[in-house]
């Protein structure tokens, strides 16, 4: 059962081949038996999952089931779940039982999906390796010595290990696409504003966007169809109809113009990864696409710009954690300042502290113009680079990550080296565009992801482009040896 796709599982549930309760029990048993090796879940919601599965079975029997009814999914532990701990990977929220559901969670519940549990993540989504989690690192199912990527590393590992056929993620600078690439699964970050941020714990509000992580593009189309849509409770949500993403999956790619930004194939790119990307592009040519060279001239500035804007927004967003209304509170505060300082000092880990301090610094008196305003100006230049490119091509392709998964502990001593893992994904967030990563092969036995970047609200096109590739290749069906049986 665990190797089946969401579409196959949904058909089997409707045909009565097995029930949602049986499917849910099977996956919960796998998590219990095997997740000790990966640490992909922070919280497993057994009882609630079985109750939801029973309700789904009734809906299936009545014939009122939708495409996700009875399908077990995992939620990244950044989405608030009423009555269930929502930790955001932080000691600060280790005791936080969310008082309400995020819109995303509400939508999955309404669709009849079954919540298996909450997945591990970098603390407050700040990290590229899942090593900053208060609950310990997640391991990559393809090689337990390797990181799964981050920050949605628990979701990526859980989907790759066949614990869940699909999971949610969030992507502020690559946090869906990079772990999807490193774990050999499919991940899509939609256009900024496509998925509601209500109840999704904020890191950098002008960049954060929720999305889905699955094994195939077809499954991503089903899940995104449920997750996307206008939400009046999120002031940045975009009021625009959601197309049926499954309808256009099979459209031919004849005449598709793919742009290759030369800046994404420079010195920093591992040659083995480059070889895999080249092979994927050959497949696209066979499918009728035309590949042309383009330039995104300000690409090298993506990481510097991001490490001003994201920390600035984070220092503001995380000021709400004050030890007064919810979350961690220090013992015996001497006065109010001591309460704030020690609660925050104890509640946040080192990476979160670094980013809060960078953000505080760049926003402080005398530095605002030199850092924050400067970064926002270059952000506009980068956004214009993409608009110029999309006048010439339909989509942009390149690697999702410069290397395959690195080893646990390899980059933890040097934040700047770690930040450069997101060199190809960050610009997409700065421009607010949709992006995907799909499995394209292996290098040194570790997965490589092909990144596909689209124009605003072109999610259907991205999923179509990914699906056609997955019809002629089988990388997305490969399972890690320890977790495929």
């Amino acid at each position: 059962m665990h190797n089946k796709s969401i579409v196959e599982l949904s058909q089997a549930l409707r045909a009565g081949k097995f029930s949602s309760v049986e499917l849910t029990r099977h996956l919960l048993a796998r998590i219990r038996r095997l997740d000790g090796r990966l640490n992909s879940f922070v919280t497993v919601t057994d009882e609630r999952a079985l109750a939801q599965a029973r309700a789904a079975d009734q809906r299936l029997a009545k014939g009122s089931a939708g495409p996700l009814t009875g399908i077990p999914v995992a939620q990244k532990d950044i989405f608030c779940t009423a009555g269930i701990r929502t930790s955001c990977g932080s000691r600060m929220l280790d005791n936080f039982i969310a008082p309400y559901d995020a819109t995303t969670v509400e939508k999955f519940n309404a669709a009849g999906a079954v919540l298996l549990g909450k997945t591990n993540m970098d603390e407050f989504a700040m990290g590229s390796s899942n090593e900053t989690s208060f609950y310990g690192p997640v391991r990559n199912p393809w090689d337990l010595a390797a990181v799964p990527g981050g920050s949605s590393g628990g979701s990526a590992a859980a989907v790759a290990a066949r614990f869940a056929p699909g999971a949610t993620g969030t992507d502020t600078g690559g946090s869906i696409r990079q772990p999807a690439a490193l774990c050999g699964i499919t991940g899509i970050k939609p256009t900024y504003g496509r998925v509601s941020r209500y109840g999704m714990i904020a890191f950098a509000s002008s960049l954060d966007q929720g999305g889905v992580m699955t094994r195939s593009a077809e499954d991503a189309a089903v899940m995104l169809g449920v997750m996307a849509g206008y939400d009046p409770r999120d002031s940045t949500s975009v009021d625009r109809p959601v197309p049926d993403y499954t309808k256009t999956l099979a459209e031919p790619l004849q005449g598709l113009k793919i742009g290759l930004p030369r800046e994404y194939f420079g010195d920093g790119l591992d040659s083995g990864v480059a070889g895999v990307i080249d092979a994927a592009l050959r497949e696209y040519r066979k499918l009728g696409a035309e590949v042309v060279d383009i330039s995104l001239p300000n690409s090298a500035l993506a990481v510097p710009v991001y490490y001003v804007i994201a920390p600035a927004e984070c220092s503001s967003n995380l000021s709400r954690f004050d030890g007064v209304r919810f979350g961690h509170r220090c013992d015996k505060p001497r006065d109010l300042e001591d309460l704030y300082k020690r609660s925050r000092g104890e509640g946040f880990g080192a990476e979160v502290k670094r980013r809060i301090m960078i953000g505080t610094y760049v926003l402080s008196a005398g530095y605002y113009d030199a850092y924050y305003l400067k970064a926002q100006k270059i952000r506009r230049l980068m956004s214009q680079d993409f608009s110029d490119a999309f006048r010439k091509v339909d989509v942009i392709m390149g690697p999702a990550s410069p290397t395959v998964a690195f080893n646990i502990g390899e980059k933890t001593d040097d934040p700047v080296t770690m930040y450069l893992s997101d060199i190809y994904t960050i610009a997409v967030n700065l421009a607010g565009l949709p992006g995907m990563s799909i499995p394209a092969g292996f290098c040194a036995s570790r997965p490589v992801g092909l990144q596909i970047i689209g124009n605003y609200f072109d999610e259907a096109r991205l999923l179509n482009i990914a699906h056609r590739y997955q019809q002629v290749t089988d990388w997305h069906t490969r399972a890690p040896a320890e977790f495929g049986e």
Partner: protein, 95 residues
């Protein structure tokens, strides 16, 4: 940009973060390295460029001034570290 010990202590105070004294030199090194990376921005001439705050250049949406939320005080205060008589408790501020 190289930050001194006193810079880190000042930033940590502004951010209301308690930092272990022993950890300050490491933070000074890490933050200086990050600011070194950030300074690559200075290579670009940005005179006459308008800053971009929101990827879709959206503006704040307005809604009718009607009460739509219900009172959830008890539920929200059930997860607070310390409350009394429906008030959040903090150490004494005024003597």
């Amino acid at each position: 940009m190289s930050l001194e010990r006193s810079d880190v202590e000042k930033i940590a105070h502004l951010a209301r973060l308690a930092i272990d004294r022993d950890a300050v030199p490491q933070y000074a090194r890490d933050l200086s390295n990050i600011l070194g990376l950030v300074e690559q921005m200075n290579r670009v001439d940005t005179d006459d460029i308008k800053p971009l705050a929101h990827p879709l250049d959206a503006v704040q949406r307005l809604r009718a001034d009607r009460v739509t939320e219900t009172d959830e005080r008890d539920r929200f205060q059930s997860i607070a570290p310390a409350v009394e008589a429906h008030l959040y408790l903090v150490p004494k501020v005024i003597e």
